[in-house]
Symmetry: C2
Subunit: 667 residues, 2 copies
């Protein structure tokens, strides 16, 4: 229990909270855009949290055992920037606040992970913060189970707005947190009854307290402007072993005399006159970006409050069992352990020798059987498709609260919540999360995948049933546009391996991709092993490579394919070669990696001047990049259909015969 | 209250329910794939619903005032097909059940709207059915308000599974339905405690009854195998004026002696031995696809139960005020009213004359100001961004229960729920829904947009703030990949108009697009009117057209652009022309429509052999289709940034100078 009065509370709570209010109002005014209402409304809550409660050391904002603070209502970014400046986090200066929302400044319109200290996660798209916090709070429990409660024992605090709670993802998050009994997760709801369109009563009648309680949370409602009530509620929330919701009844834009309590304060500058009137009303005699010295001093003291706790923690880490210390340090480094790929290389060699015919989802499981023991930071899971995604391997125990020692999470039918929780696990620092669903349901988790890409964090999505090859489940379950739509997203590695060997290689590449999400698109149907022993080592690392060079003369035809259709391309090659047409097959498991290769390699692979035909059981958008204007694409032109997979390939004309004919038509 | 015993109940309830059970088990077995567990578990509920409660006339399955039945748990499709066959819906024969999940059959793996009678909506992606049903139930209330309760007065029933309720979209749906007081919406939850990974206790601890109650629903829990309890619960639910949840405690796969109550029955054939044992256990002496004559007769009688209600309704329609009858009939036809575009044409002419500089989101509002009065079936809304999306115009009253006479819906911060509800409104039949959010949040509603595309239904998404041009809100709010990812989706018209004239034209095209969703990507920032009076009429209809032909000689450069970047292309053209380089600008507001034009038109527009440069403030995936290998794309290569829009265009090099330089570099 860390409820305490601030050690240097020589300034009043009101003055300290008003520092936030005016920094927010003035910065938004200077930027001529932004959201003053939320920081002004939640200034009292944030002041109590940061001066009395939050375990943090402003001088060391990334200390591993700090409490996490997530501003789910990311539009209120000035609250976070003000707190960062006030508490004295390194590199956040008053000039940064004056440059709010300017190009190149630390103080972006919404908090961008990595841009400034104190930003635990990029937020803005509503509901993402609260959903990511579930992963953080889970990571805390899992790290404590692995490395001991003396080294990991902190809370995760979230400020969420009405919008966050209206988003569906919030329900997945709340439900998952309740089920996982994440007792150290505390959500402070900015219960201001205002949304952009006007009063929340325009669009919602929910009893959120009852909703959270239905998922096993403890709940309370307080006056969000009463510092003692805030402190007491947080203390009570800390004392429970369930996640906690504190509804903080606030006035949006509190302090703006004519606009407070209305949506006019939400997303636009208050205006000079209103701000002047606010100064007058609150007795604030300081100019824009000027703060009373005693209040700033008290804030800085609050920022230093946690220095001892951090030093104590470092002492405990130094004194810890070396094996534990090393394991925790290694986990936090994010580096893969020495020799992590030794087993994988042997596995690949065995696959090339044995040439199994297995679905790439099964091949993924076989790769995981090797990788999971070798990379203990891997945390698996699936959105209720474990057996179909093949995401669970021997030795992986599920996380079953109150026991968090496991490494597999049953996420339930919550694709979006899973993706956000994976982001939170990755952000917490000790884990490499992977999670499974069907590729078609990438659509359900897309906003969270996008945030992972924007933040540049390592998560691995295992997305099986990646084409019409899944068969009878039909078009609702058959991805057509998903490969293109994920290839379109910046900073994503979209893998679609052709066989068991490529699947293992793509897993290795995904784990090595520390700077963003990787997605593995995997087949339901069985695929032969295509790789021959004489291929260069790990060719998937180049994104695309010549799987089979043309024989019997200079290459005349280049067949491009990914995933399950590489087999079709190989069959077409055999037919063309049999007719004396020298034909190469290029497997392209990852376009993004291929695009990074130099022109000479790309030309060597793509064979400019040859007849090019691409085959992929998906829509063709983007294939022109590799085909050129004269090339031919064989794939889907619309949605799929329900039927056995072989029938569907015939029906949609995705066959070796079609590829062969297309090539010959251009010769 | 329609609780009654079946008029021809000469067969026992058990026999009638077992007809469903064995049709499902046998069809899945024949197909060697499918989901027997849910139809077997919910057979009793469905039997009561269809034989005693549901207002329908099997011979006329699309009668407008029928009760709607939505199988949200779409994997249980055999339940729906069995009911369709048993009640005698036209065109559903026993052969169709034998062809379950075969290519070309009516009986797809998941229910596909339009494939077979009785399918009100395509389902399978979990949560979509329940969320769509909210739009249907809202459509019912709105139609009743417009055309009278004597012509529209029906219930909407939903069977939803645990998976549907775990999806976040269910919360948006539940919350919206509660707020809108959709008292005639009744959800029958297949409360079987089983998910694919095993018992639901693996991943959830929710008290769903409490959750629904928190959103204003009435709730109850019953034995889902007790027909009288089922009937009584539905009767009670009908009597309330709130939406109703009935938790039907069932045994999944009920009747399969060794597998019932386990996830083994969920998604795989039971096996011949298990089915034989089920026959034995239930005393079912009939072979596969054979039914006892008395049970089938009783089912057919149940299917004919509603014939009188339908005939009575037709009588009331015939006797109705002709103005009401005509208005309702016109609405149900889906046709746009005579002269609907007269005002729009005048509006376009005025725009060309006046040349306003306005954001295309504002231009959209101006188009709506003309269209909303002319097309009374338009129902607007926004996911809490009304003022930013510019979706509400004078004269549009919000829907405020219990008054459903309005035509504007405050959807709240529920993008996904909005998109699904729009689908439901369109499916109900009388309305053309449009709804607004930011383009970046297309990701939140993508699964519902996909279903609209798959079903081929008319909905219009107004998606504003369509690029870095939104400025300071930064990369979380700036779409980069969204145009490509939506262009990748089959059967979507993705519009990105360049100015106020194109915006009006694209609205017209969207309303005329009866066969699928249309999306309007609109700017936050002001755009000059570019269209000159001498352009052919409605050139946007061709998807792309020459906005400004090259001057001073044969065209040497073709600049391709969409939306706000057409202005940049026009500036670049001016610079190139000033240097004596004949340059054309092609505006491409809709790729999909352009792709449908013949080759000669496309060549005339694209100018093969000319230097081609495309400019779009988005990622480049797919532009090669129009650029060819030698063309140059000027756009985004990664995520955006926070800053004023003009700074961002400069920073990311999306400028007339860059376009000019790119063209000259290739000359």
């Amino acid at each position: 229990m860390t409820h305490q009065t601030s050690p240097a509370a020589t300034a009043s709570h009101a003055d300290m909270a008003n520092c936030i209010r005016f920094l927010a109002a003035d910065a938004v005014q200077a930027a001529k855009s932004g959201h003053p209402g939320m920081p002004m409304g939640m200034a009292d809550v944030a002041t109590v949290l940061f001066t009395r409660v939050l375990k943090f050391d402003a001088a060391n904002p990334t200390w591993p055992d700090r409490d996490r603070f997530v501003l789910s209502a990311g539009h209120g970014s000035m609250l976070l920037y003000a707190l960062s400046y006030l508490t004295g986090m390194p590199g956040m200066e008053i000039e940064d606040l004056k440059n709010f929302r300017q190009l190149g400044s630390k103080t972006a319109g919404h908090p961008e992970y990595g841009h400034a200290p104190g930003i635990e996660v990029t937020t803005g798209p509503l509901g993402q913060g609260i959903a990511t916090s579930v992963g953080m709070a889970l990571g805390e429990r899992m790290a404590a189970a692995r490395f001991g409660a003396d080294l990991t024992d902190h809370y995760t605090y979230v400020i969420a707005g009405d919008g966050c709670l209206m988003e569906g993802i919030s329900q997945e998050a709340i439900s998952l947190a309740g089920h996982l009994k994440l007792g150290k997760l505390i959500v402070l709801w900015d219960d201001n009854s205002i949304s952009i369109d006007g009063p929340t009563s325009l669009s919602t009648s929910d009893d959120h307290l009852a909703r959270f309680a239905a998922s096993g949370w403890d709940t309370t409602r307080i006056d969000g402007h009463d510092p003692e009530a805030i402190a007491a509620a947080i203390a009570a929330a800390q004392a429970t072993d369930t996640p906690s919701l504190i509804a903080c009844k606030t006035v949006i834009g509190k302090g703006a005399p004519t606009k407070q309590g209305t949506s006019a304060t939400h997303g636009a500058p208050l205006g000079d006159d209103e701000i002047a009137a606010a100064r007058s009303g609150l007795g604030w005699t300081h100019g824009p970006f000027e703060l009373p010295a005693d209040a700033l001093k008290a804030w800085r003291a609050a920022g230093a409050r946690g220095a001892k706790a951090r030093a104590d923690w470092e002492g405990r880490l130094a004194a810890a069992d070396p094996a534990v210390r090393d394991a925790m340090t290694a986990a936090l480094s994010g580096d893969l352990p020495e020799g992590w790929d030794t087993g994988l290389k042997a596995h690949i060699a065995a696959l090339i020798a044995d040439k199994p015919k297995i679905a790439s989802r099964v091949a993924s499981q076989k790769a995981l059987e090797v990788l999971v023991p070798a990379v203990p930071t891997l945390v698996g899971g699936s959105a209720d498709l474990t057996g179909s995604n093949n995401t669970k391997v021997a030795g992986q125990e599920p996380v079953t609260p109150p026991d968090y020692a496991g490494s597999y999470i049953y996420y339930g039918v919550r694709e979006h919540g899973m993706a956000a929780a994976m982001n939170g696990l990755a952000l917490h620092g000790e884990f490499i999360p992977y999670g499974g669903t069907f590729l078609v349901f990438a659509d359900y988790c897309r906003p969270s995948i996008r945030l992972a890409a924007l933040m540049g964090i390592r998560v691995v999505h295992v997305m099986t049933h990646d084409s019409i090859g899944l068969g009878e489940d039909g078009p609702t379950h058959q991805p057509v546009e998903h490969l293109a739509s994920l290839r379109a997203m910046p900073n994503v590695l979209m893998f679609r391996p052709a066989d068991a060997v490529e699947t293992a290689e793509c897993w290795a590449l995904a784990l090595q991709n520390k700077g963003g999400p990787s997605i593995l698109a995997l087949s339901r149907q069985g695929l032969p092993t295509l790789r021959s022993p004489d291929t260069e080592a790990m060719p998937s690392a180049k994104g695309a490579y010549v799987l089979a060079e043309a024989g019997g003369g200079a290459r005349k035809v280049t067949l491009l394919a990914t995933g399950s259709e590489v087999t079709i391309a190989m069959d077409a090659r055999a037919a063309l070669q049999a007719e004396g047409i020298p034909t190469a097959v290029v497997s392209m498991p990852c376009w993004e990696l291929f695009a990074k290769q130099d022109q000479s390699y790309r030309d060597r692979v793509l064979g400019p001047g040859t007849v090019r035909v691409a085959v992929e059981a998906a829509g063709g958008l983007g294939w022109e990049r590799w085909l050129g204007e004269a090339g031919t694409f064989i794939g889907m032109e619309g949605f799929g259909a329900s039927g056995p997979a072989p029938d569907l390939y015939l029906h949609f004309g995705i066959t070796a015969e079609a590829v062969t004919a297309a090539a010959k038509a251009k010769l």
